[in-house]
Symmetry: C2
């Protein structure tokens, strides 16, 4: 009994990536038994050709970025990776090598971050590649971090450095030099800050729309204000070298996938210590204040400009 | 503090659809507490413009079909609907009315089938609409129906009638008359057969690739053969009227989303009874037999031709 190539491909490239709960990718759905003492955290993110990535991006890189962008949502929730479902829509004539490269990228990230495939859907499109991933993680009961827990007096912390991904995109487009490829690498392959905020942050978000836009989400959800100091924003060496004309990208540039965290004063030292263990820098850039959900620098109100798809 | 229109739209159209676990769609992820005595069933399906639906299809109809196609996977697993995540990728200039219509379609189906929104991602594409839904359902512990449980002697049953959706697509393309719109309606809006197979079927699958292709999945997963009688395939009145040239679509036409079930002899009467309560017809079209995973009609082997995306 001969199988059409769609099922061949699933068997060859994706079945080796699957968790037992995926039932060998041979059922209509995965079945997850109760996880005692844990809550399930679930999120989904899409990447579309021409919008989230440039045509011609290697399949393995797409797979790795798609995985990391989704894992970043788990990091913001303080969750531990468990598994994922994948939707893959590519033009009909896509060659086998593309699928092999995509699966190889997934395999690398699965091993690195400790999760496995649960299921998915493989279809065709008339033209552009469209990729979707639904990621599942777990937290202790009531251990998930929201955006609504920030309280006046909490310190505002960010991981890593800001603006690099936006500079990397500019470099990819030839508008900026990037001799050692550091900036492009930051755009191509963000690092989800898993394990950093768990149990310490009162609120957290991963910076995908720009720090001002994402801080605004926390302020609105928590019904608090924030005070930040632009001079404290952590910049990378190539970020500083890009000069003042590019400096605002640290405030408004998306795609860094660093964590922005509100951290109660008693937990700030523990955050520093944990960051050292995880080998990531953390920087205090301001604090949460009482009042309406506005972001201040001194007495000036900053507009939370960021990326919107519409 | 003004919000960009992407967040406006989420607040206006999608927040009213959300479950409490969705955290008001204001966090990076939904959080699902343990569900005592239940297992979680999770599946994902995509619909792309130009492949799964024709350009210009009304937004509300797309939403309803997307929901039903995913619910059909829960029906095949014997699961009860719980919630869903949605990914919506549309061209940048898409008007507000499109989102309003889409949300209205979701609202109707939520009410009909008893599930609510858990989260999602709203993005843009350069050209075609791409829709994704990840559906979550629950079953009793070990209550999920797989494809691998069919045993020799089980009856092979199908719900509803076969081939109508494929005829409906032909009618939409003007290749077939459909004066009262019955066939087109079957293509546009399948009915997930929720509650039909639970606790009765030893194996089940929803027919999305054609009954032969989907029966082949059960045979391979269960390592059994099957015997079917084409003369027993349930056809609708317009399906019969379409004439013999179209008759094979009942075997190979996709998109009916009827259930194909293997049912142990002692449960066959209960299936008939339950079908009456649910107001759906069920038809015995053959049985599971011992041996290699082949499908026989008499002594002839039927090739499991069906739809493949590649």
């Amino acid at each position: 009994m001969k199988l059409p190539s769609e099922f061949d491909r699933i068997a060859r490239y994706f079945r080796p990536l699957a968790r037992p709960e995926a039932r060998n990718l041979a059922d209509d759905a995965a079945v997850i038994p109760p996880l005692p003492g844990r809550e399930l955290v679930i999120s989904t993110d899409v990447m579309n050709e021409g919008v989230h990535f440039l045509p011609g991006t290697p399949a393995g890189l797409l797979a790795r970025k798609l995985m990391r962008v989704n894992l970043s949502d788990l990091a913001a929730m303080g969750a531990e990776p468990f598994g994922y479902l994948l939707t893959l829509a590519v033009p009909g004539p896509t060659p086998d090598a593309w699928f092999a490269g995509f699966a190889q990228g997934l395999a690398e990230e699965q091993a690195r971050f400790g999760l496995r495939l649960l299921g998915g859907d493989s279809t065709s499109t008339s033209q552009d590649i469209s990729l979707g991933l639904t990621v599942l993680g777990t937290t202790p009961i009531c251990g998930a971090i929201g955006r609504d827990g920030a309280r006046p007096g909490d310190g505002l912390w960010v991981s890593g450095t800001l603006g690099d991904a936006a500079l990397g995109l500019a470099a990819k487009r030839g508008r900026l030099p990037d001799p050692d490829g550091v900036l492009v690498a930051r755009y191509d392959l963000p690092t989800p800050r898993l394990g950093l905020a768990d149990g310490l942050a009162s609120a957290a978000i991963d910076i995908s729309d720009g720090i001002l836009a994402d801080l605004a989400h926390i302020c609105r959800a928590s019904n608090v204000g924030a005070r930040v100091d632009r001079g404290l924003l952590p910049l990378s060496a190539p970020g500083r070298a890009a000069g003042p004309a590019w400096r605002d990208l640290a405030l408004t540039g998306g795609d860094d996938y660093e964590l922005l965290m509100a951290v109660p004063a008693p937990a700030e030292a523990a955050l520093r210590d944990r960051a050292k263990v995880l080998n990531v820098t953390v920087t205090r850039i301001g604090e949460i204040i009482a009042g309406t959900p506005e972001i201040y620098e001194g007495t000036a109100v900053l507009e939370p400009l960021g990326f919107s798809h519409f």
